[in-house]
């Protein structure tokens, strides 16, 4: 194709896509810097994740009391927290959809989840990390770089945590 026709075709195609087909951004993934944001705790107090992200390894699980995958994953997270809790900050951000505070408090009292429970009723972290589902886990190394993301009741958290600690 002649260069001028090629340029015209490219311009037309780009114009068509920009007019009719918007681009949707995807969230941060493995290798990206983790967004440093602030969320709330169950008392409504702001909690700045910047006090940990970029300073020590961090594991974040996005969860809900009704999430069966989160319940299935709980023993794995509990074992990881017992082993690496001194080196890694374990955070459990409740996504708050269909999960009122009273229900969350009752769950904490009964289950004693192995992480610091946060309650993001503003959805700041869900949007920042593009959290598509509960049981979504993000592991971040000391430099604030994401080394692992995953979803579901069975996840290889220990190997990812070792990488986060070693980095």
């Amino acid at each position: 194709m002649a260069p001028r026709f090629r340029r015209r075709a490219l311009a037309l195609a780009a114009l068509a896509f920009s007019a009719a087909a918007p681009l949707l951004a995807q969230g941060p993934g493995k290798g990206d810097q983790a967004p440093v944001i602030a969320v709330h705790d169950l008392d409504g107090q702001p909690v700045d994740l910047g006090q940990w992200i970029g300073h020590k390894p961090v594991l974040i699980e996005f969860w809900a009391t009704w999430c069966t995958s989160c319940q299935a994953l709980m023993p794995t997270v509990r074992a990881a927290a017992a082993k690496y809790g001194a080196q890694v900050e374990f955070l459990g951000i409740n996504v708050t959809v269909a999960d009122p505070k009273a229900q969350v408090r009752q769950f904490i009292a009964e289950e004693h989840p192995p992480y610091r429970v946060l309650y993001d009723d503003e959805g700041v972290s869900q949007r920042a990390f593009d959290v598509a589902a509960t049981s979504y886990v993000v592991i971040i190394d000391r430099a604030g770089r994401i080394v692992y993301t995953g979803t579901g009741g069975s996840q290889p958290l220990e190997s990812a945590l070792r990488r986060a600690i070693a980095n």
Partner: protein
Amino acid sequence: MINPVARRGAVALALSVALTTAAAGQDTAAAPLGPPTAIVVSGPEQGMKAPDFLLPWADKNGVGPDDAQFSLAAFRGQVVVLAFYPGDFTPGCTAEMQTFADRYQALFGDAVVVGISTNDLDSHVKFAQSLGLPFRLLSDPKQRVSDKYGAKGTEGHNRRVVYVIGKNGKVAWREMQFVATDPKGYDRLHAAIAAAEAAK
């Protein structure tokens, strides 16, 4: 005139450029290119006519009759919410559908709500029963409808997309990247439904 083969090549190249542009700022020179960090979407925009369709459905009570498939056109004059979702029994879809069920009256009022995925009707019945869903789930295994609405995702699953169709049959609101875990997304949906109900 550009021949069709050349045109297709140019379009593919332009699409590739569009897809990788967003990623370029994040990749280091040494890092291999990962999956695209942006996706192209289409589907009817706000104010455009919502494409009509006919799909089989199921709810918590069982499979709907063959001769009474869900027809969007049959609900002209009512606000309709189309919730495209990836799959029954997945964590994200459970979050979304659980929230829809828990907040059904407050969120939707008199609007007609349907979920749409590629799952078969038997799966829909079990999923609806497991969450006690008070609305229908439509089965679109070949993604003919999700394609029309820009909700066709990869690997045979829908993306999570929500449309509010006004009483006039036109798109009143849409969110092409509905985040099932974001409480603000449900607030936006509720506001859109209220606005569509208030419109003539």
